[in-house]
Structure formats: C-alpha cells, structure tokens
C-alpha cells in the first residue's frame, strides 16, 4: 500500500479572506492528496493540535492580514514542542519580500504569494514530502 499524502490547510488569525486557502486545498486535492481544511480564524494552537490529530505530512498556512511574523513562528514552535518537526510548513498570502528570508530561517519550507501557479505549489509540496 502506498502511503497517502495528507496536508492540512489552515487559516490563522482574523482576516476572512479564505479564497486562496480554498483554491490551494482544491488544487492539492486534484493532485491526489488528502486535504484537511480547517476553516477560518484558527489559533496557532488549534492548527498544531489539528496537525497532530490528523497526522499530516505538511501544513499550509494562509495569512493575508499581515500578521504572518507573529502567527507563523507560533505554529512552528508549537509543532516543535509536540515533536512534530517532520511536518513541512508552507505559507501563502501577502508576504512582503523583506520577511521571506526570516520566515525561511525559522523553518518555513516554501512561500507562495499572489499569482503563484497552483501546479507549481502542488509540485513543490509533493517534492518536499517525497524526497525524505
């Protein structure tokens, strides 16, 4: 039996713009993955707990509120504390160029801004998850 890739798509924080998250969830679904969609207004703690219960391989975080430098590190720290370092984290949304390096240093595997090609995102996720 081949192992099925499972990805959590989560929207932390208070912005209600979930179109992007839904588009990515749909694209990953069409790429043959099992996508767990959490819906809006998740706290970082809720995202970590959902990732644990669902035993996912990756977490995609969509932030359009500008709060990514607060929310993303809290998800990464939470995953580490739970011993879930193996879970790859990627971020989508409005992420200014000057924050990208800092996020990657924290451990974010990939960052996708507006205009990103969904096919490229799927390829990236699959590649990230199958190379290890």
């Amino acid at each position: 039996m081949t192992e099925q890739l499972r990805v959590l798509i989560a929207k932390p924080g208070l912005d209600g713009h979930d179109r992007g998250a839904k588009v990515i969830a749909r694209a990953l679904r069409d790429a043959g993955m099992e996508v767990i969609y959490t819906g809006l207004r998740q706290t970082p703690e809720m995202i970590v707990e959902a990732a644990l219960q669902e035993d996912v391989d990756a977490v995609g975080i969509s932030v359009l509120s500008g709060a990514h430098m607060t929310l993303v590190p809290r998800v990464l720290d939470g995953l580490r504390q739970m011993g879930l370092d193996h879970i790859k984290v990627f971020v989508g949304g409005i992420i200014p160029d000057e924050d990208r390096d800092a996020l990657k240093e924290m451990g974010v595997a990939g960052i996708f801004g507006p205009g990103s090609n969904t096919e490229a995102i799927c390829d990236f996720v699959r590649q990230q998850l199958t190379e290890t």
């Binding site: 969830a25 679904r29 099992e34 219960q53």
Partner: protein
Amino acid sequence: MDLVAQALDGNRYALARLISLVEDDDAASQTALSALYPHTGQAHLVGVTGPPGSGKSTLVNALAKLLRSKDTTVGIIAVDPTSPFTGGALLGDRVRMRDLAGDPGVFIRSMATRGSLGGLAQATNDAVKVLDAVGFDVVLIETVGAGQSEVEIARTAYTTVVLEAPGMGDEVQALKAGLMEIADILVVNKADRPGAARTARALEMVLNRNAAAEGDGWLPPILQTIALDGSGVSEVLKAIEDHRHHLCTTGLLAERERLRIEAELLNVLQRRLLNRLVSRVGNEQIQKWIERIAAREVDVYTATRELCQSGDRGAPIADPPRTVDLEC
C-alpha cells in the same frame, strides 16, 4: 515504548499514528490491532448519517460539546469522499467543529473513503476500535453525505442517527428502502426553516410504528433540532442514551455486536481470499481473462470459475484455455 503502549498511555500523537497505520493498511497495523482489541468494547458507538448539507458535522459538534459538559470523553471519525479520478480528497468536517479545539477530552480524525462506497472508509471500523481501545467513552462516526443506500454505518455503530433537512423530498422519498430503515433516531435538523414540521410528519407517517414495536421494541423517535445553536440537541443525546439503555436491557447490544463481527469477519476474509487468489494466479493471468471477457470469448462467470480452480491448484496455469470462437 511501542505505539500501542504509548497510545494506551494517553499519547495523542501515538494515537494519530496508529490510525494512519490502520488507514494505510500497513503490515504493522494488524499487530497493533491485535494488541488493542482486548481493550475495546467499552465505548458507545454512535453513527450520524444523512444527506450532504443536512448538518451532520454541526450536530456532531453540538453533541460532542454537550457530552463534554457531562465530562464524557469523545472520539470523532468524520468521513468525506475520495475523488474517484485523482485519489485526492477534501476533508472539511473540522470546519464545523471549531468549538471542540483545544479540549484534550476530544479527538477528531478526518478520514477519506479511499474508494469504499458504503458511506464509510474501509479502515473506519478499525479506526473506531483504536479510539475505543484508548478509552474514549463515546465515539461519534460521521458518514459521508449519504443518499439512499449508504447503510454500512448501521453495522458499525450501536446507535444510528439519521438526519434530514426540510424540503428534501416528499413522502415517497421517505418510503423508499435504505437509509430511513437504519435509523434508531430520526432528526429533522434546521428546524427553523419552513417545512420542518411537514418533514417530521412525513417521516412519522412512513415509520411503521407497529412493526417496530413488534421487532426489537424500539420506536425511533423523530426529533427536531437547530444544530447550529444547539436547540433540541439535548433531546437527541437523551434519545441516544435511551437507545443504549434499550440495547443493553433487551440483549440487543450483544446481538448487534454479533452481526457487526460477522460482517467484519466475512469482509476481512473476502479481502484476504481475494488477495491470496490474485497473488497465486498472478495479475497477468487476470488481465488475460479480462481481455477474453471483453472480446466476448468467455463470460465473467466462466472466467471466475477457471480462476478459482487455478487458484485452488495453487500454481499459476500457463494460459487460459482457448474456447471455440463464437460466430459473429
């Protein structure tokens, strides 16, 4: 410590890993399930089924909240469909279960059907066992959006709640066999919508109450809820508890358990035998038979008979025997 010991010890990640092993049908899963099995049989297993959008996830969320207020721990398995084309799935039941986040007395697992058609996944039964074994008091099992014949849940759960929403069809729909028949409790959700009372009346008319009373002595109650704000949910929980009590006092619980195990055993046996036959005969042979059936040289029953015979002999046969071509 191995995963089973860790999960029994309350480690939530070990529990999540075990469910994944079971889902991926990993070789280790059978060893784990053997070790877990003696710990099962304690939880009450409640199925929630109904058409897409009738409010299953929302009702599960409301029921779990209520159970938690009584200090009852709750495991949830929420099943959504796998795409028949890509093998992918979008599992969105957690969206309605935000209220339960952060509560260590709740564990939610989303599950894709991965090709099963009965409303549950192949591994749902085993995942339920894992949750049961590690000590959840109640396991709520939410099926995929069910149409008319996704009735597998009745074999998995002890109590089956069937949801309907107003305005989804006339009495003839309710008269049809299948989903309506497996209900231990019928719920008309979205009762604040027009037509709720009419839907409830339609259900009432078609439930043959006398037959039910003569059968197992349980009259499926018809309840109305607004799951979103929790109205009527305590009545549903009360009915679930009453039904559990009824099953225990009448000995029906043991009977349902026996039926469940029978179905499960036959199902596992069927898969095992099929796998054994396929590995003995070889996929190549099966492909050849498929071609011959497609070419109308043999029919599917003849092919099955031949395949079974060669499987019994234990060795792959050289080639399917050629039959005389039918005249066109």
